[in-house]
Amino acid sequence: MLSCKALVASSSDYLDGQLRFTEGLSVRAHLAMCGNCRRFVRQLRLTLRVLQQMPEPLVSDLDAVAAQLADAAKKPD
């Protein structure tokens, strides 16, 4: 039986579908019985969604970069 500590260690691989079939089964069996680990995995998923939705930093000199590239595109060497 998987410990909570081992479950946490496998949690990323579980979310990324990187576990072998039997490993995946033991993670699911553990989660079915352990509320603490279910909460952990739920919060880890939420963490990843937070990262997905964090605003990207804007390109500071966008217009200058675009002008330079458009220029270079018009004058192929």
Binding site: D16, N36, E56, D63, D71, A73, P76
Partner: protein, 202 residues
């Protein structure tokens, strides 16, 4: 920000400045993450500049066999590697401490059960969590505490949605290293969210 490759390409080829602005705005973040991982913070800007110039030079030859994004990231990885005139770097899996730690061994009893189990959070949607500007700043701090490679792997996976295999290929690191880097980075970000939810401060 997904943009329409098919519509954009002829405008790029015609040298339309607005098309380049759209291209840079959509993809520079992902390109920076790739460059960061390969040449490091100090040279990432220059590597991305090299990459843009290479993109412009080879735009006419873009076949559309891969997506524009995949093509741009491959060019970025290649120009960054060309800039890297050193022997192949060793992948650093060593841990640098993060502001709020991780989910480490101290959270568990010797039998592997939780000693200090996660508590319920006040917010359960990313929108609600991110509405606190203090938390956004706090997350930025945690992200910048990550090693360059760890930071890049995390952003390429979570923000850019790349498959693990694609990250391996771009950065020339093994799948098992990508998995380790990603897991450690995620736990550090988790620890920051958890700390913020428990204390209300960074």
């Amino acid at each position: 920000m997904p943009i329409n490759d098919v519509e954009l390409l002829p405008r790029l080829l015609a040298g339309e400045q607005k098309a380049f602005a759209e291209l840079v705005a959509a993809y520079q973040g992902a390109m920076m993450a790739v460059a960061y991982a390969i040449v490091g913070r100090r040279y990432a800007d220059e590597a991305v500049q090299d990459a843009w110039l290479a993109v412009v030079r080879s735009l006419a030859g873009f076949q559309g066999r891969s997506s524009l994004k995949t093509w741009l990231l491959t060019i970025t990885a290649n120009t960054a590697k060309a800039r890297l005139r050193q022997n192949r770097r060793t992948v650093q899996l060593d841990e640098q401490p993060a502001p709020h730690g991780s989910v480490g061994a101290e959270r568990f009893a010797s039998d592997g059960h939780w000693l200090n189990a996660p508590q319920a959070w006040h917010e359960d949607s990313p929108e609600a969590l991110l509405s606190a500007s203090e938390l956004r700043e706090c997350l930025d701090k945690t992200l910048s505490s990550l090693s360059e490679l760890q930071n890049s792997v995390l952003l390429l996976r979570e923000r850019q949605g790349l498959e693990l295999e694609a990250i391996c290929n771009l950065l020339d690191i093994s799948l098992s290293n990508v998995r380790v880097l990603l897991h450690r980075a995620r736990l550090k970000v988790f620890a920051t969210l958890e700390h913020f939810e428990e204390t209300g401060q960074c």
